[in-house]
Symmetry: C2
Subunit: 716 residues, 2 copies
């Protein structure tokens, strides 16, 4: 059993080695023509400059938080501050590595596309996989080291609260990376799209357009770095949550024994999420090696192969691993672990649940199904009906997602209880937390497939700007459109796991708060020792209203930010066309001042991320110091509406995007018709939906919950 953290350490090192190997392969590939090199350098420079400036700003926040964690009477001081710092640093490093390779892979993919899709696909995938395995590898590395350091080697008090602080560090980076990246990418994209309307005759990705480079930078900043930091946090959170929850449930298992007592067999419960993380990692590595460019096989089948292999292996490994770890039906405290196989089932439920949510996202956003076709149909009567139908379909898509999530919660709760022969018991909560790690156990390969998308997208832009032959653009387009579908699955995993992880963190919050309740007031606690958050209590009701409101405000702020930044971009583009002679006419040698546009996006993104990012951290602190029950209601309201809005906005945005592509492929008259113009409006509305506000919800709900969990001892 004590081998588990070391196994995780080995798995994470293997993941990092795979990332290193893939990075080598990518960097060895040819970058193509001089013009391609030049464009690639401009994109890389802009993206790295943004990342550096973002990290500079965020480091101020991280430093302040570091000090706050030292000062405020939370559990696990001062170790928590260092764990926090480790989470923040590792997440930043993963982002840096991933971004570095992604911006190298884009030109190389464009160049490989000149020899066909079979050459280009593996290169783009490997570029994404560097991000995927850096993220997952560094996260698992951090968790194993944290576990060994605080629990095993140093044996600090409240070691598990220290592990939670690691999660908070990862969240801090993810929060700002997601919001800042989301604003950046859409300011450039919306601004770029609208320039065509305002300055007639300048198509998207045209080298004359000064915003084109900023748009390509945005893809990397938002979809690579932002998404990577998000999934670092999700993955770390999904392991941290059940570990912390298990540590808090141990007294229940042991009936009254304090946490400081020898865990005995109960330690298996703490190890188990880490074991699953390690096994899923190995499965993902094997899966990633299955993605090769073979002539004659469909691209989609090749890309999906990696995911399916990883998922299937995870199922097998989980069953074996569970039976080995809990061999001989041990007694854990007062519970006899009668059926450990049910613990493996919660993992499988999570894995399948994540996949199923991804599939419903695909249903609502792919042009092969009714929702997108219906939106395209509405384009016949103009942009207003496109907007109405897109919003309606996005809202409707919350139905299957919620049904799947509550089914997952219900099943894993039940399985958790059955495993311990105690159906319906508080022990079931442990099962719920396991479902989240099950869902994210294959993070490496999922991020790989997701980060592949922006690389292919960038490659297309570079092909256009470098004036490569149209058939090259055709190849990159086929890679890109495949990326849209696989991204839907990745979003399903991200949002589903966010809900379940946040729930597990929420339970940990309630249990931690329960430990601070004075002995005489047992009526404030439920049978598991968590505080009772009674909806009929007025403070909880007020918290519920405020919490449910927060995702609405968050969406409003981020959407408005995109609008403002996009307008600044348009003004600048207009100015350049007016003031740079020969630019509009495309005279040879006349170049736009792309750097100014990159600067505008960078500054806007950094400035605009402060308010929403700050609110996410400050709101739970303010409410928590006033009333912890109100904070409980607040978190519940925020998790539930945040989840709904995340699904709704991601799917509306994706559906509009693909409705436009469906029309561009020839439906309803194709490009140039009024129907197409209407669909373009829908797509532009959807830009901040799917790439700024929607994805920010996942991280919002987890940041607020984990801040509350870490600070709850100080509130009471």
């Amino acid at each position: 059993m004590t081998a588990v953290p070391y196994l995780a350490l080995i798995a994470s090192v293997l993941a990092l080695l795979l990332a290193y190997y893939f990075a080598k392969v990518v960097l060895r590939a040819d970058q193509g023509t001089d013009l391609m090199r030049e464009i690639g350098a401009a994109i890389r420079e802009g993206a790295m400059a943004f990342l550096r400036r973002e990290y500079k700003w965020v480091s101020v926040f991280v430093a302040a938080m570091f000090v706050l964690l030292l000062i405020v009477p939370i559990d696990g001081r001062p170790a928590a501050s260092f764990a926090y710092l480790m989470g923040a640093v590792l997440s930043s490093v993963a982002g840096f590595i991933g971004m570095h390779i992604a911006t190298a892979a884009n030109t190389r993919t464009a160049n490989a596309a000149r020899e066909g899709a079979a050459k280009a696909l593996p290169l783009a995938f490997k570029g994404g996989a560097v991000m995927g395995f850096s993220v997952a590898g560094l996260a698992l590395l951090g968790i194993s080291i944290n576990y060994l350091l605080w629990v095993k080697w140093l044996g600090v008090d409240q070691a598990f609260q220290v592990v939670a602080a690691f999660g908070l560090g990862a969240s801090s980076i993810a929060l700002f990376a997601r919001i800042g990246g989301g604003i950046y990418t859409k300011a450039a994209d919306v601004g770029g799209d609208l320039v065509g309307k305002v300055e007639a005759g300048i198509p998207e990705d045209d080298p004359r357009n000064p915003a084109t480079i900023a748009d390509a930078v945005g893809d990397n900043v938002g979809d690579v770095a932002g998404m990577g930091a998000d999934l670092f946090e999700s993955y770390a959170g999904s392991i941290v949550a059940p570990v912390v929850l298990a540590s808090l449930l141990v007294p229940v298992f042991m009936e009254g024994d304090s946490l400081a007592a020898d865990f005995g067999d109960a330690e298996a419960l703490l190890m188990y999420p880490i074991l699953i993380g390690a096994l899923g990692m190995i499965a993902s590595i094997v899966g990633a090696l299955f993605v090769r460019g073979r002539e004659g096989r469909s691209l989609s089948a090749q890309l999906h192969a990696g995911q399916y292999v990883a998922m299937a292996l995870t199922v097998v490994f989980s069953i074996v691993g569970t039976l080995v770890l809990f061999r001989g039906s041990p007694t854990i405290g007062n519970y006899v672990l009668g059926a450990p196989i049910f613990l493996a089932l919660t993992i499988i439920v999570g894995l399948l649940g994540g996949w199923a949510i991804g599939f419903t996202s695909e249903y609502f956003t792919s042009e092969h199904y009714r929702p997108v076709k219906g939106i395209a149909q509405q384009s016949e009567t103009g942009p207003a009906t496109v907007a109405i139908e897109g919003i309606a379909q996005g809202k409707l898509s919350t139905l299957p997602a919620v049904v799947l999530v509550v089914t997952m919660i219900g099943l894993s709760y039940w399985f958790g209880g059955v495993a311990f022969g105690a159906t319906g018991d508080v022990i079931g909560l442990y099962g719920v937390a396991l479902a989240a790690i099950g869902m994210l156990s294959v993070t490496g390969v999922i991020v790989a497939v997701d980060a592949y998308g922006p690389i292919a997208d960038n490659a297309g832009g570079i092909a256009e700007m470098a004036e490569l032959p149209p058939e090259v653009r055709g190849v990159t387009d086929s890679l890109d459109s495949l990326g849209n579908t696989t991204a839907a699955v990745a979003k399903g995993f991200a949002v589903g796991s966010a809900a379940v992880t946040a729930l597990a963190l929420f339970k940990s919050f309630s249990l931690t708060a329960g430990r601070s309740v004075p002995d005489g007031q047992a009526s404030m606690l439920d049978s598991g020792g968590a505080i009772i958050l009674n909806i009929n209590d007025t403070a909880v009701t007020i918290g519920l209203f405020l919490g449910a409101m927060t995702p609405f405000i968050f969406a409003a702020l981020t959407m408005s930010s995109v609008g403002r930044a996009a307008q600044a971009m348009i003004v600048e583009v207009r100015r350049q066309f007016a003031e740079i002679p020969g630019l509009r006419e495309g005279e040879p040698g006349v170049k736009p001042d792309s750097r100014r546009c990159v600067d505008i996006s960078t500054q806007a993104a950094l400035r605009e991320m402060l308010l929403p990012g700050g609110l996410a951290v400050v709101l739970p602190l303010v409410i928590g110091f006033i009333d912890v029950n109100a904070l409980g209601g607040f978190l519940a309201g925020a998790v539930v509406t945040g989840f709904l809005i995340a699904i709704y906005m991601a799917n509306s945005g994706g559906a509009w995007d693909n409705a436009k592509k469906y029309i561009e492929a020839g439906a309803h008259g194709g490009k140039g018709t009024d129907a197409h113009a209407a669909a373009v409006v829908g797509d532009t509305i959807g830009d901040p939906f799917k790439d700024t506000s929607g994805p920010a919800m996942n991280i919002l709900i987890k940041v607020m919950t984990i801040v509350s969990l870490v600070f709850v001892p100080a509130f009471l």
Copy 2:
């Protein structure tokens, strides 16, 4: 004290007499030219035909519910069935009267507008006031009779559950009237707006357009009948909720005395909400008499005068009434009523809270403030940015609304406690329920001012169709734009009261459920005897997710319905232009087949209202029979998100509408520019937001709560 229900009876009869008098005045006025009569007749005929068919369909539902209430083991059988029927019938009668007069007032207002605004304003107001005072009068009449009948004269068991069934009857009608009316009006309006785009050269309200009459009918069906049924239910609900809640709290007051015991002084608590209803009614009658057409005074001041007089008098009357009812600070059970003035303060908090929410709606939707100006500004870059900014501002507008509602809840809870010398006690809940009745005490005059809007709007359409001189249209436009502002205030009252009333009903649900808990399981109950709905309980969590999802699904279904119905309308209009020779050219004597369009809207509205309407009733029943705790979570989730979505959709829609009007008044280039076209798209997106999906939320959350309250004895 026993005089209170009789006072309410007298106040309601006075209200009905005022409605009768106003109806006489309206009907005496001249209908204008023959063409105006003819158009008016067509509108009236269409509106009345819809209402008859709607009532026919709904009566099947009501009959089924009547039988269900007889069969299922709820409290208060069989009286509850009859109370239910009374609620449904009185609401229908109010709708019928209001619609009859509103469709008579429109032509007469158009005719009076030929002599100027000072003649037209009072006529339109009186038309709306007939609706307002029919609604409020019949609701208060029904409640007084129910109170006297079941509590005083017959003394049936569980008389207060019977009173709740009256509220359920009102809700049933409101549910279908709101949804059906909302779909009808926007199918016709969106269809009509888009016809201009599809069939170039046919402006809105043009007599050649076959959808014009359907559009005018829609204003009456949605904004008069739908809104009236909604406010009948809101008003009745706001009185029923505190009465039922007080009856359930009586055992707490009396410490263990059963409900069947002699109430003694506690009866004052049951009477108090009815007293406030009666006093507010008298204040509203006085206020309504203050609205006169005077030359030289601003129209807005004259219209607002009525509201302010009614509100000021309600404040004075409430203070006096409270001091008289609770004179000498009697002992109520174990509580000494130390400071009855604090009960009056909860009423005032509610009244001011409703007004303040209305004001924030006005801020977000009026062209005098930043949000609408910002949306208009975004029209410079096309419809997509208009849509993005409108959605962002609507979501942002939830901030002040939620802050006001939680402040209101917090204050009234505290005041309720202080009145009984027991701060923070369960008694505080009573205060929360009182805030809702405070908010709606002036319903009569609020509905009057709100129903005035569609009458003025209709008058404008008639002036256009009857080809009256442009200055007449100018007068009706000035009346109409004033109606938009006053409607914002009315919506604030409606949505604010929905949240607080639903909360009071929710507490009653929890208390009723608590009464069915076996004696041995006191740990399931809180100090007030309500069931504990612990968010950490997995069933409650699952309920919370499902409940929060329901308003999203509801919005999706109703928006899609509008889209489908609008497309059917467009197809029909196209067909008529193609098949009726001379129609497009406007040859004399050639008329469109308006009746077909009216039929399409009618059928679509009736067909499409069934699924969402049915869900609102069936969902809580299904969940309740599975698990009452899950139902508690479900209701909490639905109330909170329903409130947020109601605010968001109403304000986004209103803001888009006024941004368009702001541009039409000359900003950003005025009519005919690209900016104007972009704003028109925003307005069309906003149509189902503000008039279909948004307003349906208020009634959704109350129907689901009251169904749960009535059926909870059967669940357990």
